[in-house]
């Protein structure tokens, strides 16, 4: 650009129009950058996601969700050997076939005392499979895809990370199931004890409610 300032040798002072132009350029640059990211995401993720979602939805329809209910009934039995079924097999099946948020309905086959732990276990598994089975929670894909995008930028394969995320997810939901069941048992027991003792200072129920 030609130097249009009157005083030769003086630092080039940008005219008001140039400054405005520069601002506009910067302003639109923000959105241009965003648009580039958007195209990358749409082209890179959406087509595969749609086909995969379609395949899994079709599979679920053909198998029929009512068959998975039988596993639910079995998982509610007491006994140590049913822990892995209750907090590993059942949540995984529920999340895979019923997906978020319908997977929590699977808890209805369990006794009341196990429901909070099953919920904790199932809800913790709605993200770890996203790298392998995005259909389970496509609406919250970016819990996984955000971090995975960084790995892709580096040119590293994301498959390894996806598989490890899945495995660690399995361990974590099992652990959460057991820990939450223990905590809720203690709280249920405390509550039951509290109920037996007659409350001396029971507040009078407000009338009319």
């Amino acid at each position: 650009m030609a130097d249009l300032s009157l005083f030769a040798g003086a630092p080039p002072v940008a005219g008001i129009n140039e400054t405005l132009g520069q601002w506009a350029e910067n302003f639109i640059g923000v959105f241009r950058q965003g648009a580039e990211t958007f195209v990358g995401l749409v082209v890179g993720i959406i087509p595969l996601l749609i086909i995969l979602l379609t395949a899994v939805h079709a599979l679920i329809k053909m198998i029929g969700p009512e068959r998975i209910d039988r596993v639910g009934e079995m998982a509610g039995r007491p006994g140590l050997q049913y822990y892995p079924i209750r907090y590993l097999v059942l949540p995984v099946l529920a999340v895979f076939f019923l997906t978020n948020p319908m997977c929590y309905t699977m808890g209805r086959f369990l006794p009341e005392r196990d429901k909070p732990a099953f919920y904790d276990s199932a809800v913790s598994f709605v993200h770890p499979p996203l790298g392998l089975f995005p259909h389970v929670n496509a609406g919250e894909l970016f819990v996984w895809a955000g971090i995975a995008a960084g790995i892709t930028t580096l040119g590293l394969p994301i498959g390894d990370l996806a598989v490890r995320y899945f495995y660690v997810g399995l361990i974590v939901i099992f652990m959460r199931g057991i820990v939450t069941e223990t905590i809720s048992r203690i709280m249920f027991a405390r509550r039951a004890r509290g109920d037996e003792e007659p409350e001396v200072t029971a507040p009078a129920a407000p009338e009319g409610t």
């Binding site: 919250e140 970016f142 930028t153 939450t180 709280m187």
Partner: protein
């Protein structure tokens, strides 16, 4: 003739059922993409655009990088997210986890956070998963009101333990990831 007719009829019904199921499945997935995935991508793209094109992201990123590139930092992040007061607020729609995950992803892409921290980071950003949804989730499981009263605090307290524990497990499992 009747047997052939019956046979063709059965085939026709069978094929119709399969095609119908596939078509319905396609409709559901397109619905899902348009209603949930694309809006979030637009939103995330705008945020990434602002972060990359302006300097705003650097301030947040500096702190995030500090936290997300060491095990104690990730543990601290998971403990903060798992605080029973905060976790129900951070939970809805996993929006916070998705934004923080995206920020960490950008930092990993720029080489500021080593890629092997991706696995523990995935758990560190998300100990609050579902903490906003406990009463609804339990109602979906047809739980009694007393179960909900016990269940909400039980899950929230459990996360204080299992949130950081998940980060440690993920850290152990990240050995050998992207270091070869």
């Amino acid at each position: 003739m009747d047997t052939i007719n019956a046979f063709l009829n059965r085939i026709g019904r069978g094929v119709g059922g399969v095609v119908g199921a596939l078509y319905q499945a396609g409709r559901e997935s397109i619905d899902m993409v348009i209603r949930n995935v694309l809006p979030f991508m637009a939103f995330i793209s705008l945020i990434i655009g602002v972060i990359l094109a302006t300097g705003i992201g650097e301030w947040i990123a500096d702190r995030l990088t500090g936290l997300a590139s060491s095990l104690p930092g990730l543990l601290l992040m998971s403990i903060i997210c798992a605080l029973p007061v905060l976790s129900p607020l951070l939970g809805p729609g996993a929006v916070i986890a998705q934004i923080v995950g995206t920020l960490i992803g950008v930092e990993i892409g720029q080489g500021d956070i080593p890629p092997q921290y991706a696995l523990p980071a995935l758990f560190a950003i998300n100990p609050q998963v579902g903490c906003d949804f406990i009463p609804v989730g339990l109602s979906l499981a047809e739980a009694e009101p007393e179960t909900v009263e016990v269940g909400v605090p039980a899950v929230l307290f459990s996360r204080m333990v299992t949130g950081p524990a998940a980060v440690v497990i993920a850290y152990l499992f990240s050995f050998g990831l992207y270091t070869g």
